[in-house]
Amino acid sequence: MESFRTHVPEEVIVSPCVRVRRERMLKALGQLFVRIGQFVHPHDVVAKGPERTAVRLVDVAEEFKLKPKAALKTILVEPGQNVKEQEPLARQSGLFRRKELLAPVSGRVMEIDAQGRVVLQVMVEGETLRAGLQGKVINLMPRYGVVIESVGAFVQGVWGNGRSHVGILRLLVSAPDEMVSPEQFDVSVRGNIVVVGRTASAEVLEAAARARVHGLIMASLRPELLEVAERQDYAVVLTEGVVGTAIAAPIFDILRRHNGHEAVVHAAFHPARPRLRPDILIPLQVEDAPLFRPGRPLEAGDVVRLLAPPLLGKVGKVRDPWAGLGVLESGVEAQGCEVELPDGSLHFVPFHALERLSGAETLEAEGGSEV
């Protein structure tokens, strides 16, 4: 019987220099557009799935402002008929002029319903698979996907607005818990990936859009502003989530060190896929960067971020990776470990209330306040 007690924690990569490999796979067999050794950017299309059929409705009654019965009399096509783009689907003859409704795309008439709508079967583009990170293609799975390898400083966040951009990393704050004002967004930040510290107001989000930044990185955003962030064309990455008060020290330290360097932001997020994380890559020309391997058990000395109040957002080091069963303030019992915070205090932390910052080296941000 295996009695050795270990726990494999959730982890995010926060590393000043790491080699990261990612598989990018199509859902159905398709076509690859890259070759081994090719350098790709996050937005580059690496593969495409097969074309698929879809439905397109053409509402004749609505377009001609007619009642359904009258609209049906104007329709020129029949179910089963193939039509070409710009071919007339319906024609309305008036006393002085004639109106035609043209097929918006080529397709096949599937049905014509009683409401005067033509149902077209059309072909649409299949899945478009983008690189999602900057790096080199190191392996191909024919017709199915690729493996991309990146080397650089790499930081994973908690939430992203789905956008990807490249730009010069620019810190507008000197400490991880500072905040910025809308006035700081002038022409000098155009095209930059801007680090704004603790959080951003709606005004800052709008000012960033006006200044045409390529990205914003901050600790957290109030829940009601997530939707505003989702609407922006630039990338938004939250390093802590919705309740953090400062960018975690190891993350801020990496961002500060690379102020002025080119960064690639891929602000991926899906609530149903907690391990799909937004990331920030600062590419480095390094030959011997260590390869990130997920799934290592928790060890003493690991840098971890705590995920539950009252220690939410704190970063500390694991002192004892197996502290057994503990009772929390809420009365809930959980297995956990012992974590030491930068102030020297020791805390029992349930295993599922922490994540390892894999690759993190420091607990405190230089020049910044303790987090």
């Binding site: 019987m1 295996e2 009695s3 007690r5 959730e10 159905a28 698929r52 059929t53 879809a54 439905v55 409705l57 179910p79 096949r108 599937m110 049905e111 319903d113 009683a114 409401q115 709508r117 149902v119 079967q121 908690v158 939430w159 109030r222 829940p223 009601e224 997530l226 989530g241 919705v242 309740v243 609530p271 149903a272 896929r273 907690p274 391990r275 997920p294 799934g295 995920l307 539950a308 109040p309 009252p310 220690l311 939410l312 929390l328 303030e329 809420s330 009365g331 809930v332 019992e333 959980a334 349930p350 599922h352 209330a353």
Partner: protein
């Protein structure tokens, strides 16, 4: 189809349930000839990167059981793969049987096509709700000149199928014996709809109709789509379709979801018993219990991504799974749907709403994080109440007659709660109040919770090892929370609504006067029973009619006896702050 192949005569078994968030394992063994709970363990479900294989989560949960029981349950082969050691060996390692249930899959998407259906047929189709299905469209097969598919047009049908890509097209016609123009039109449209799918991924067509019509349709369809058939005798026998339709749907759920879970094949190879959907096994247990006890049972399970309601009495088992409703990553959607007040009113304390909203969203992104503080715990339990209220809102509007009490509120004999938020509530009073607040029953009801998560296992076991089920129930695998007497009718706050007298086995009596608007709790240990005399005020009802007194024996529980004189529906002060203060008092009253 599920659960027919359990190893008969098994003396020990290991049970694993794979949920969307957690995989839990429980060891049960015979001690002195009786089945007893031994140990349990849990681990993250490992459907996602980097593992992407359910087996890893099961192995980890089983390792937890090994540590807790000091018994080897896994064996590792020469290639380093671990599997459950079957059967139990001479040293007492391993187990005789390994049972698995799961709910860690997406629901089956279904479009229903039907002719005009008699009420019995519509009722029979309710069996679909028990099987993790999401009905994405309902269309009436056109049989008139206007070409409308019920409330929809054919264009709506094409749009629905294009958007949702359903797994199943269910065609139901009870009265027709021959193909009508409407049926022919359905077949024609089906051909066109198939063009929207890759040939290998076309939907299965399930035909529920009379024999001649089924034969005609199958001949037309079987070259295009996978087909399943359920033959009915006629409109008058519509109710008979429940069982065969359930069997077909279970088979499709297995083929299209369970069998496609990564690692399913390996896991299934360990066990002689088919892996079963959790809700199917839960409903079987509750139906069995209702039959044995001859009582009305309500069971609710708040899951991470699905929630489940079962109502059962001696003649009825109604099971409804609500896919997409849970306290996992969809909490943010729930908050948007029901509004903050519907959740935050249940959170006592002074934490500002803005912070509560932040913590709720944070929890939806990190659903595995246990609530460490009291505020976090209250918030989780508030979310549990909101999920339960959503779950029962529609079914409780049309309660079966035997479950319909005063003013149409729920009445039943037992309420059993399951799911992490109920199982894991550190104080039993919290679990009891959560169930009471969300379901708001009337009359006299006994409350329990499935603390060990064994209700699905009992459903699997029940078909071949009924004595194991009886043993486990006898040793309280379900935690008895206590008995609740709900006072309903014209209740005024502060006015006397009830007098109750507790008569202890030693003859000691104790009388209490109950004021409207309050919750009362009396300690009554699990395993004890006492006689209770209830004398409601005029027009006030404790389940037997307005003003009717009653003398009953009530069992105790970890909470004891609770008198709920708050009224139905629950009265709320105007402001959210007062509502939260009110909830604080209620929690205090029941020892939460």
């Amino acid at each position: 189809m599920f659960g027919d192949e359990f190893v008969e005569g098994a003396e020990s078994f290991l049970y694993a349930d794979i949920g969307t968030a957690w995989t839990r394992a429980v060891l049960v063994d015979q001690v002195e000839g009786r089945y007893q709970f031994v140990a349990r363990g849990e681990a993250r479900t490992t459907l996602e990167y980097p593992t992407a294989n359910i087996v890893a989560g099961v192995q980890e949960a089983v390792r937890e059981v090994e540590r807790a029981s000091s018994r080897a349950l896994l064996i590792t082969d020469s290639e380093g793969d671990s599997r459950v050691l079957l059967p139990e060996d001479e040293d007492g390692d391993g187990v005789d049987a390994f049972l698995v249930t799961t709910s860690a899959f997406r629901p089956l998407k279904l479009v229903v096509f039907s002719t005009e259906l008699p009420p019995a047929a519509r009722a029979a189709l309710s069996v679909l709700h028990a099987l993790y299905t999401e009905i994405v469209g309902t269309f009436t097969v056109p049989d008139r000149e206007n070409g409308r598919w019920g409330e929809h047009s054919v264009a709506d049908l094409f749009q629905t199928v294009d958007r949702e890509r359903p797994d199943i097209m269910l065609f139901v016609a009870f009265g027709e014996t021959e193909p009508t123009p409407g049926v022919e039109h359905f077949l024609h449209v089906l051909q066109a709809l198939n063009n929207l799918y890759d040939v290998r991924q076309r939907p299965t067509v399930v035909i529920v109709a009379q024999n001649t019509l089924v034969s005609h349709m199958v001949a037309q369809i079987e070259t295009m789509n996978p087909v399943e058939r359920v033959v009915v005798a006629g409109e008058e026998d519509a109710g008979d379709v429940r069982h065969p339709l359930a069997e077909v749907m279970e088979k499709l759920l297995h083929e299209r979801r369970l069998a496609r879970m990564p690692g399913f094949g390996a896991l299934q190879a360990w066990s002689e018993t088919p892996v079963q959907p959790t809700a199917v096994a839960q409903a079987r247990t509750i139906g069995l219990l209702a039959g044995q006890l001859r009582r009305r049972l309500v069971f609710v399970d708040v899951g991470g991504e699905h929630s489940h309601l079962v109502m059962a009495d001696a003649g009825l088992v109604s099971s409804i799974v609500r896919p997409g409703l849970g306290i996992g990553f969809r909490l943010q959607e729930l908050l948007e749907r029901v509004g903050p007040e519907a959740i935050f009113r249940w959170v006592p304390g002074l934490l500002p709403e803005r912070e509560l909203a932040g913590l709720l969203v944070h929890r939806s992104w990190y659903p595995l994080v246990p609530p460490a503080t009291r505020d976090a715990l209250w918030l989780e339990q508030a979310a549990g109440r909101a999920v339960l209220q959503e779950l029962v809102a529609e079914p409780f509007r049309h309660l079966p007659e035997s479950f319909s009490g005063a003013n149409g509120h729920l009445t039943c004999d037992y309420i059993i709660g399951a799911g992490g938020v109920i199982q894991g509530a550190p104080e039993p009073g919290q679990a009891l109040l959560l169930l009471l607040d969300a379901l708001q029953p009337t009359g006299i009801v006994h409350m329990m919770r499935d603390r060990l998560g064994l209700v699905p296992a009992l459903g699997v076991l029940s078909q071949t090892e009924p004595e194991a089920v009886a043993d486990l129930l006898a040793q309280h695998v379900l935690e008895s929370l206590g008995t609740v007497v709900v006072v309903s009718g014209p209740i005024q706050s502060g006015k006397e609504v009830l007098q109750f007298r507790m008569i202890h086995p030693d003859g000691a009596t104790y009388t209490v006067t109950v004021e409207g608007g309050r919750l009362y709790r009396e300690y009554l240990e699990p395993g004890l029973r006492l006689e209770l005399e209830l004398r409601p005020a005029r027009k006030v009802d404790v389940g037997l009619g307005p003003g009717q007194p009653v003398r009953i024996q009530v069992p105790g529980g970890t909470v004891g006896l609770v008198i709920d004189a708050r009224g139905r529906p629950l009265p709320w002060p105007d402001s959210l702050a007062e509502q939260r203060r009110q909830v604080q008092e209620w929690l205090f009253d029941v020892g939460g």
